[in-house]
């Protein structure tokens, strides 16, 4: 199971998170709790702070104030442990175009100090359906295929928590269905997912919880089963002032 340095009853626990750039406040006293095994999709208009929230959780951006724990680890004390336990997919593929898919994954594996690397790469590539393309230079792969490699890269170290920043841009239908598979592929059980997006359809389809981020705060959070699409649209326009 997950080694923890404290209370690991929640996959993600955020309290009073504030992030400012200069005088500009992006996240304002934000609270967020995600239980193990949940698939939470966070919706929000542009500039609501979705990407910033992701960057803070991914240890890329230091919070101005507040307490953040991911997989039980305190962000301010042990960011390296958090990095071991999260897989991140962003708008950018995070791949080296001049290297082959295999070389990219192998580099990633060495940076994580993974054991039995080749086996692991084979297994992950099989799961993502990129086995035949491992020897191809990433630049020569199609956009959708690159996305798969980048998903494979994100789960190579078998992280229990996935952070997906609008991963569906460029993912084809097939790869999307893989996302569902990726979620249950964890060696340590079902993965916890936090996804931010502004695409209503896909977000609702995959998740079991939904939330709305606006004005730097989580304004709304609900069980997916308790809200239908029409109801969610009403809530969305009420909290954000934007109609979907």
């Amino acid at each position: 199971m997950v080694e923890a340095d404290g209370n690991a009853s929640l996959a993600i626990a955020v309290r009073g998170l504030t992030k400012t750039y200069g005088a500009q406040v992006i996240l304002r006293d934000l609270d967020l709790r995600v239980a193990w095994g949940d698939f939470l999709t966070v919706f929000g208009p542009n500039g609501a702070g979705k990407t910033t929230l992701m960057k803070v959780l991914a240890t890329l951006s230091r919070p101005t104030k507040g307490e953040v724990r991911v997989a039980g680890f305190d962000l301010s004390k042990n960011p390296a442990a958090i990095r071991r336990n999260i897989g991140v997919v962003t708008h950018q593929p995070l791949l080296y175009g001049d290297l082959t898919a295999f070389e990219n994954l192998s580099f990633q594996g060495r940076m994580f100090g993974l054991e039995q690397l080749e086996e692991r790469i084979e297994r992950t590539a099989g799961l993502m359906g990129i086995g035949r393309y491992l020897g191809h230079k990433v630049d020569t792969l199609s956009h959708g295929m690159q996305k798969r490699v980048s998903l494979a890269r994100a789960i190579l170290h078998d992280p229990p928590v996935l952070l997906l920043d609008e991963p569906e841009t460029g993912l084809d239908q097939e790869a999307l269905s893989m996302l569902a598979e990726v979620v249950v592929s964890g060696e340590r059980g079902r993965r916890t997912v936090l996804m931010v997006t502004h695409s209503l359809e896909r977000g609702l389809a995959l998740s079991n919880r939904v939330a709305i981020l606006t004005g730097g705060k989580i304004a709304y959070q609900e069980e997916r089963a308790l809200v239908d699409e029409a109801g969610f649209k009403v809530a969305y326009s009420r909290f954000t002032g934007v109609t979907l």
């Binding site: 400012t20 750039y21 200069g22 005088a23 500009q24 406040v25 004005g215």
Partner: protein
């Protein structure tokens, strides 16, 4: 009137008075140097400017270290403000140096260690200002600048050493400033008073700039708030 404003106004008056005294001493009181003639009087501006410039860059280093350590805006404000004033003083120091060099050494510029180091110093802190202008706003830019503020300060002695060695390797007729150790006492007094004056002027300008920067900061915050509310 807040204490802060009172202190600043007091300093302004004091350094103004000191400046008048210095001007009197420099142009009326101190005797003309025998060998160098009347042009030597620029020395009473040149040296204090150099001193105040170095002092400013010392403040930059302290502010930069403080910022990387504590991450509070105050340290960064101090470093940034001190750079602006330091660059101003160093620019004036270089200009007065060039003006003085022409009549005394008959060249505008010589690659003497002190001159060359001053020029490099100036370039480093001009780069600092450029970096601030081109960096992302806020915390990120402040961190970049702090790194340069520290690196620059500790690099300067190495620069000086290397240029010093370099000039001794090529022993040309070095037209450097003659040793100024046995200064005539009236000259020494004038110089010291001028140094004190420019130090006061530096502190005065720094406090003014700091208060202005705080206002800029508040204005920026207010503007962002308006932007968010709209």
């Amino acid at each position: 009137m807040s204490t802060n404003t009172m202190v600043r106004n007091g300093l302004l008056v004091l350094s103004g008075a000191m400046m008048l005294l210095s001007l009197y001493l420099i142009f009326r009181w101190v005797p003309t140097e025998k060998n160098l003639g009347v042009s030597q009087r620029i020395f009473y501006f040149h040296v204090p400017l150099a001193w105040a410039g170095f002092l400013a860059f010392f403040f930059v280093m302290v502010g930069s270290v403080g910022y990387l350590w504590k991450r509070t805006d105050g340290w960064d404000h101090m470093a940034y403000s001190a750079v602006e004033i330091g660059v101003l003083f160093t620019t004036l120091m270089l200009i007065t140096g060039i003006l003085w060099a022409k009549p005394v050494w008959e060249v505008w510029w010589t690659w003497d260690p002190r001159l060359t180091t001053s020029l490099i110093l100036w370039l480093i802190y001009v780069a600092y200002l450029m970096l601030r202008a081109y960096s992302p706003r806020g915390e990120q830019g402040a961190r970049y600048a702090a790194v340069l503020g520290i690196a620059g300060f500790f690099d300067v002695p190495i620069v000086y050493l290397s240029i010093h060695w370099w000039r001794t390797v090529h022993p040309e007729a070095v037209v450097g400033p003659a040793a100024t150790s046995n200064l005539y006492s009236a000259m020494f007094i004038t110089l010291m008073i001028s140094v004190v004056t420019f130090t006061l002027l530096f502190i005065c300008l720094l406090l003014e700039r700091l208060s202005l920067r705080r206002s800029e900061h508040e204005l920026e915050a207010a503007r962002d708030l308006v932007e968010t509310l709209r």
